[in-house]
């Protein structure tokens, strides 16, 4: 089964290297507005969340596109965009629930994550693997383990409290 981009925002350090390498890889230019992945920040909470295309199964962008410029590539598990068909109406930008469809105002065209043909540069450069590329089967297993760990810790604390009482 094709791999998927998996974002664990708790690991993100907010450095935005993913934005830089995405723009350089696709356009040969350093400019975050050209990046397909963007890190949203709540600085006063120390919270950084990378946002990118989720390659939705039932993709709103695909459904909404009036000229069918967007289609599903089953091999790489992604939604692909065909510039030859695209009329630049930005309907996909409006309907995307994640804001992951962007409009590059410099070249006047929509941009989205294409998973770098199976070797996503954001993943390759992220030392913390806050952005990872893995089989969808594995996506939630680490999270399950972490959550289970928290439950177990809470359980121990609860029993300690009971013991104190």
């Amino acid at each position: 089964m094709s791999k998927a981009l998996y974002i664990n925002y708790e690991k993100c350090t907010g450095c935005r290297l993913c934005e830089l390498v995405c723009a350089v890889k696709h356009d040969g230019i350093s400019n975050p507005t050209r990046s397909r992945i963007r890190v949203m920040k709540w600085e006063m909470e120390g919270l950084y969340i990378p946002m990118s295309c989720q390659q939705c199964q039932d993709a709103p962008c695909m459904n909404a596109c009036p000229v069918k410029a967007l289609s599903r590539d089953e091999e790489l598990g992604r939604v692909v965009h065909d510039y030859d068909i695209c009329i630049g109406c930005r309907t996909c930008v409006s309907v995307c629930p994640f804001g992951a469809m962007s409009f590059n105002a410099i070249d006047r065209k929509v941009i989205k994550c294409d998973l770098c043909e199976g070797d996503p540069q954001c993943v390759r450069f992220c030392d913390r693997k806050a952005v990872d590329f893995m089989s969808p089967d594995d996506v939630s297993i680490d999270k399950k383990r972490e959550a289970a760990g928290r439950l177990s810790k809470a359980g121990k604390q609860a029993s300690a409290l009971v013991a104190e009482l």
């Binding site: 350090t13 350089v24 350093s30 400019n31 120390g46 913390r128």
Partner: protein, 646 residues
């Protein structure tokens, strides 16, 4: 191209703004960042200008690599004549400001004059506006930044600001960006305050074309792998700089009780593991943040666990805050360090200078030079946590006689306090030393005596001297790119070879500051990290500029000499205790009282120390008085300064 980024000249008195390209010959001579700032400062200020006055030039910059596809090009550099020292003022900070300014079209700003009312600058895609800042004047460092975002209606704006300390003209006020990224030392925030300039906001969406993007991307990957493979960076990326505390303190390299001891006892409460433990509940298992494009991510995140600031999000504390609010004042408790760190970040003042000034005042109080009347009843004794926190507040808001006096800076304060208070002030060129004690390390002592911005470790410290590396390893590092066949010693207590090491480090750090990258990416804490031989390629692939390692070395030497020329013009003389290359007498007269066997009982031997300075001057091309020889200036191509190329 990054080489197309411009210089803007902004006169706050008249409101005139002029932008100019940076000629390629200027780039080749000074690259960018700190080096070009030094050139601009020398050319745009006049001898003896008042650092608090409109004639002082505040220069803000990114390096030549800023916002390119190189690793960690996050650094913003700020330069002006220092209100603290009357000599060179210089500050360097991480974060996201300089890259944003580069995407907005600028690499250097030269700000002169003084605004009539509080203003801030808004730099947006090639344009610069001067805007009313009356509504944000008085706000804390973070509140000011968020207020600017709200006013501009853009949450992606990055700002550098001065806090209340800068507005109140505290002589060592910082420039700040983000939560805790600090342009510290020498009072650059005070210069902002003196110009009625509350902030500079930047937002850019302009392209920076990479000269060879495919190769640059690949080279960057290798560069990052190189940097993250170093154990020292892996540890920094987990614990932040406080990981150094345990080793240096137990070894005996920390100033305690101002300068009475070289080790702080019972300091485990300040260890990063302990701070993580008490803050874990609020931040979760991952709690490190990074500056732009950096995979070292050395900024720890926490929420203050208890006390009046409980629940406040903060970053750090750095090793320097441990020393400033725990070590020097002998208050080695986590909460004191966390709260002290939080206050200086919010007020925008230098943690090192603040801690050092408080510790100095505490020693004067202990000696009876300051009395309870001078402190308005405050029991200013070592170990008094509340007094440390109270003094931070009093200095920032210039409350009471003592708060107001200390805020003027060490030398001025010592002249007001009188008696022999100056003898206890651990400073060089008017800037206090950080919290480290260099009596057992002549190489490090030489570094702080010669640093161009006053007693400081980030100008030329051969920090790897403490690792006792084998001589061949040292020789490989210190012979790149210029062959060195003189002596080198693996012993930190030795005097031989150290002048060359300090000279080499001075050029290494200058090169890094011109490129605009972080010192954790070069030979500072890690001996294996990149240096001169790695930079030509990253420079070429990103900017297209072809330079050899030797040429970058020459640029660094030239820029360091520009800083020296500025200091000499403003009154530096070799042996002047207030404006020279000389240490406080206590380094020579008072032996260390604590620490490891090769640390305890040591002083700096003055005759040997003076010989080291002579040797350093020779490498640098200075005469015995510390003045540049005519042939040195000619060799470096700066014999006709100021030359007004830009």
């Amino acid at each position: 191209m990054p080489l197309k980024r411009k210089i803007a000249y902004i006169n706050l008195t008249t409101g005139e703004i002029e932008t100019k390209p940076i000629p390629i010959e200027v780039r080749k001579k000074f690259l960018g960042g700190r080096g070009l700032d030094a050139y601009l400062l020398y050319n745009h200020t006049k001898k003896g200008c008042d650092p608090y006055g409109p004639d002082n030039a505040l220069i803000v910059s990114g390096g030549i690599l800023t916002a390119t596809c190189a690793s960690a090009t996050a650094r913003t550099h700020i330069m002006a004549k220092s209100p603290l020292t009357g000599l060179l003022g210089s500050a360097n900070m991480g974060g996201f400001f300089a890259p944003e300014m580069a995407w907005a079209g600028f690499h250097h700003l030269v700000i002169t004059g003084k605004a009539e009312k509080p203003v801030y600058l808004y730099i947006h895609n090639g344009e610069i506006n001067i805007r009313d800042a009356r509504g944000i004047w008085g706000k804390s460092v973070t509140d000011a930044q968020w207020a600017i975002r709200d006013e501009l209606g853009d949450q992606e704006v990055k700002s550098m600001v001065c806090g209340p300390a800068g507005e109140n003209l505290v002589a060592w006020a910082n420039v700040m960006t983000g939560i805790k990224n600090s342009g510290g030392r020498t009072g650059m925030g005070c210069v902002m305050g003196s110009k009625n300039l509350k902030a500079i906001a930047a937002r850019g969406t302009m392209d920076i074309k990479i000269a060879h993007p495919v190769e640059a991307l690949e080279y960057n990957k290798g560069f990052i792998d190189h940097i993250t493979s170093a154990k020292v960076n892996q540890t920094q990326g987990t614990l932040g700089t406080p990981f150094i505390w345990g080793a240096t303190n137990s070894w005996g390299g920390i100033r305690c009780r101002n300068f009475q001891y070289n080790q702080c006892e019972y300091a485990d409460d300040m260890e990063p593991e302990r701070i993580d433990e008490i803050c874990e509940e609020t931040m979760g298992p991952y709690h490190m943040a990074g500056c732009f494009g950096c995979q070292v991510h050395c900024r720890a995140q926490h929420k203050i666990p208890s006390g009046p600031y409980a629940g406040r999000y903060e970053e750090g504390p750095e090793y320097t805050s441990q020393g400033a609010f725990g070590g020097e004042t002998d208050t080695p408790r986590a909460l004191t360090v966390l709260v002290g760190n939080h206050l200086v970040d919010q007020y925008g003042m230098d943690n090192l200078e603040t801690g050092s000034m408080i510790a100095w005042a505490m020693e004067l109080y202990e000696l009876g030079i300051l009395t309870k009347k001078d402190t308005d009843g405050l029991e200013l004794t070592f170990g008094n946590d509340d007094a440390v926190i109270e003094m931070i507040d009093r200095i920032c808001f210039r409350k009471g006689w003592l708060g107001d006096t200390l805020a003027k800076g060490g030398i001025q304060a010592s002249e007001i306090i009188g008696k022999n208070s100056f003898d206890y002030l651990i400073q060089v060129k008017g800037m206090n030393n950080l919290h480290s004690d260099e009596r057992a390390t002549p190489g490090l002592a030489l570094n702080i005596a010669l640093a161009s911005r006053g007693s400081d470790h980030l100008r030329s410290r051969p920090a790897i001297d403490l690792y006792h590396l084998p001589e061949p390893v040292l020789r490989k590092i210190y012979s790149t790119p210029i062959p060195y066949d003189g002596p080198l010693s693996s012993e930190h207590t030795e005097y031989i070879g150290k002048p060359w090491q300090v000279f080499w480090q001075e050029n290494c750090y200058m090169a890094v500051d011109c490129l605009g990258i972080c010192k954790y990416h070069t030979v500072f804490l890690g001996a294996t990290l990149p240096n001169f031989e790695h930079w030509p390629k990253v420079l070429y692939l990103n900017t297209g500029l072809e330079m050899t390692p030797e040429e970058i070395w020459e640029v660094a030497r030239r820029c360091n000499m520009m800083e020296r020329l500025f200091n000499l013009r403003e009154g530096l003389t070799r042996n002047d205790l207030k404006k020279g290359d000389m240490l406080n007498h206590r380094y020579f007269d008072e032996p260390t009282r604590r620490g490891a066997p090769d640390v305890v009982g040591r002083v700096i031997e003055k005759d040997k120390f003076i010989k080291m300075i002579d040797e350093f001057y020779e490498y640098k091309g200075l005469d015995k008085e510390g003045l540049p020889k005519a042939e040195t200036l000619k060799e470096l191509g700066i014999e006709n300064e100021p030359s007004h190329l830009v």
